[in-house]
């Protein structure tokens, strides 16, 4: 994929149900195959990474979940806002003790669940800390950080929350911190990838999100088209099948030729399924054309017949590995 060479922070978003966690994990595995040290993070408290890698829930700690050929490794981290706040207070203000006092007051609870956007500031701040660690020292140093980010509907707001903070806090350390986060997010180090399906709502949300991100000067990366199925019908048969004008006589002849005890109900049943399939193929073609108008690199990932298990995850990683190499 051209244009992704210098990217060290991969933000992966997508509408719910499009498989963004799976794609984020596959991308991390693909990067590790190239010998890189990768951190895969999630920020929504869903423990999606642990479920995918079939391990116990992740603590607030970087844990190795996979190794790639060539010495690459994938570490995983589930960012918890409360732990991130305490860590943040300690790291920047040397206020660990104040942290426990604040906890007693309910201030931590306030900051992480109630306060406007603070939760997102903490989450994005922690991800940024891991992504830029090389320069600060302390902790494991990664070549790339992959973030399983909030869904398309919230992604621009999530990434932009730090510029909102800049608006709220006119001076002081929070403002400086927020400004430096925004600088990295808006640089070529960052790419915001979108995961979508070839269906109307996910495609529409992808287009809307790309528009919002562009407006906020956030760098849009690739569009990952997930769960792509091969069209099974011969090209010339798609249009007729979609309108229900499938050649029933030919179908009946073929079924008999194949040794099946075919009669009208079988032809009708199978033709109905072919019509549904053809309709979907045509819809997918339209949606693909819509996405192409975004003029972003598009990567198609196959539908995994058995769902996103470990074998499927490695299959997707293989596809992405090849894409990254080109």
């Amino acid at each position: 994929m051209d244009g992704l060479a210098g990217v060290t922070l991969h933000v992966v978003s997508g509408k719910g149900g499009t498989g963004k966690t799976t794609v984020a994990a596959a991308l991390a595995l693909a990067l590790a195959r190239q010998g890189r040290q990768v951190l895969l993070t999630e920020v929504e408290g869903r423990q999606g990474i642990a479920q995918l890698f079939d391990t116990a829930p992740l603590p607030y700690e970087e844990r190795r979940v996979a190794t790639g050929a060539g010495g690459g490794e994938v570490y995983a981290l589930a960012v918890d806002p409360e732990a991130a706040l305490l860590e943040y207070l300690e790291m920047f203000y040397n206020l660990r003790r104040a942290g426990s006092a604040l906890k007693k007051l309910g201030a931590i609870d306030f900051a992480t669940t109630i306060a406007p956007g603070l939760r997102d500031v903490l989450l994005s701040g922690k991800v940024m800390e891991a992504a830029t660690r090389a320069r600060r020292g302390g902790g494991r140093i990664y070549d790339a950080v992959v973030l399983d980010a909030p869904p398309t509907g919230r992604i621009a707001r999530f990434l932009n929350v730090n510029s909102e903070v800049v608006g709220l806090a006119r001076m002081g350390p929070v403002r400086q911190q927020a400004e430096s986060v925004m600088n990295v997010l808006r640089s070529r180090q960052t790419a915001v990838h979108m995961v979508t399906l070839l269906e109307e709502m996910p495609v529409q949300e992808t287009i809307d999100a790309v528009r919002e991100l562009t407006k906020d000067d956030l760098p849009v990366g690739a569009v990952f088209v997930n769960m792509v199925r091969d069209p099974l019908l011969p090209t010339g048969d798609i249009e007729p099948a979609a309108t229900g004008a499938i050649d029933r006589d030919e179908l009946l002849r073929g079924l008999k030729r194949a040794g099946l005890d075919a009669a009208d109900p079988m032809v009708t049943g199978l033709a109905a399924e072919a019509t549904a399939h053809a309709g979907r193929v045509l819809l997918e073609q339209r949606e693909r054309a819509e996405l192409a108008m975004l003029k972003r690199p598009m990567v198609e990932l196959p539908l995994l017949p058995d769902g996103a298990d470990m074998a499927g995850l490695y299959e997707l990683a293989g596809v992405l590995d090849e894409e990254l190499a080109t």
């Binding site: 206020l95 007051l105 709220l168 006119r170 073929g254 194949a258 199978l270 309709g279």
Partner: protein, 373 residues
Amino acid sequence: MTPPYDVDALLDDAQIIVCCGAGGVGKTTTAASLALRAAERGRKVCVLTIDPARRLAQSMGLTELDNTPRAVAGIDEAKGGSLDAMMLDMKRTFDDIVLAHSDPQRARQILANPFYVSLSSSFAGTQEYMAMEKLGQLKAEGRWDLIVVDTPPSRSALDFLDAPQRLGRFLDGRMIRLLLAPAKAGGRAYMKVFTVGLSVFTNVLTRILGAQALKDLSLFVASLETMFGGFRERAEHTYRLLKEPGTSFLVVAVPERDALREAAYFVERLSTEQMPLATMVLNRVHRSSYPALSTERSLAAAEALEEAEDSPLTAAVLRIHADTMRAADRDARMARSFTGAHPSVPVVHVGAQAADVHDLDGLRQIAEELTAG
């Protein structure tokens, strides 16, 4: 097997139906279909949607966000029913509360405060509070027999239920009293009360936020104090409303692991809260139109044709059938795993649609499936 659930009976009797579930499972479409069906069965219905897809919104004539229910055109009103629909405008609902509960000068101050602007438009959870608030308002108007609510696309389906308690925790906490202190007392008088806690607290906040932002925040909380009190009462009232006999919950899911896990959490939570779960709606269920032909025989026949280089159309159709059967098997397995764990919860299946719903006829079709039993 649980007996088929009578959705029409629910539509004829319920006063509030809450549709909940993970994001992307078709909650809004389900809510809209049920509301339309109830209206055409003769009830006066209002559907409150949170974030509908553009085309679905257009199909109900919801072209603008104006935060008031509007009559949906094209409804069959022969049985005396009607359908109003509205899209929740979170910020506007919040602004309206401010305007209704404070004098004009104070309202202006609040609306202009940078923390208010941020809170009302981006506060994680504001949508849940506002959906709750709006539901209470609509109910209080008394214009409708039935209100169908589509819950916000939360990170977790449970956020909707947790909103009032979270607000209560916030209002009762020492935190808010600390934030109020500087604005209320002014000077140093308040220091006597909260000496230790407050000095740590303001010290930290000043270091992190800067003095000006702390002042803004404190003023903001002070100005909201009175309003929040009433707000909490109303949120709690609405919460109680959700426990009353006229209310039913529908848990919406699709036959996928994540969505079913969310659904299971919700089912368990509703039972703990003693809130009435009517049924689960399982959307996008794949079905075969000819299950008598097995996956294996279908694939073997396709291979035979491909080998003989005869009828590529038939071979393709047989492969499509095999795929359809596999998808149907997988979905049935998913549904069984849910039912196995929650045998008392009825499940209504809705088939996978080729395309999204764009018009009232599409909604009617879905409602047909929902009520087919």
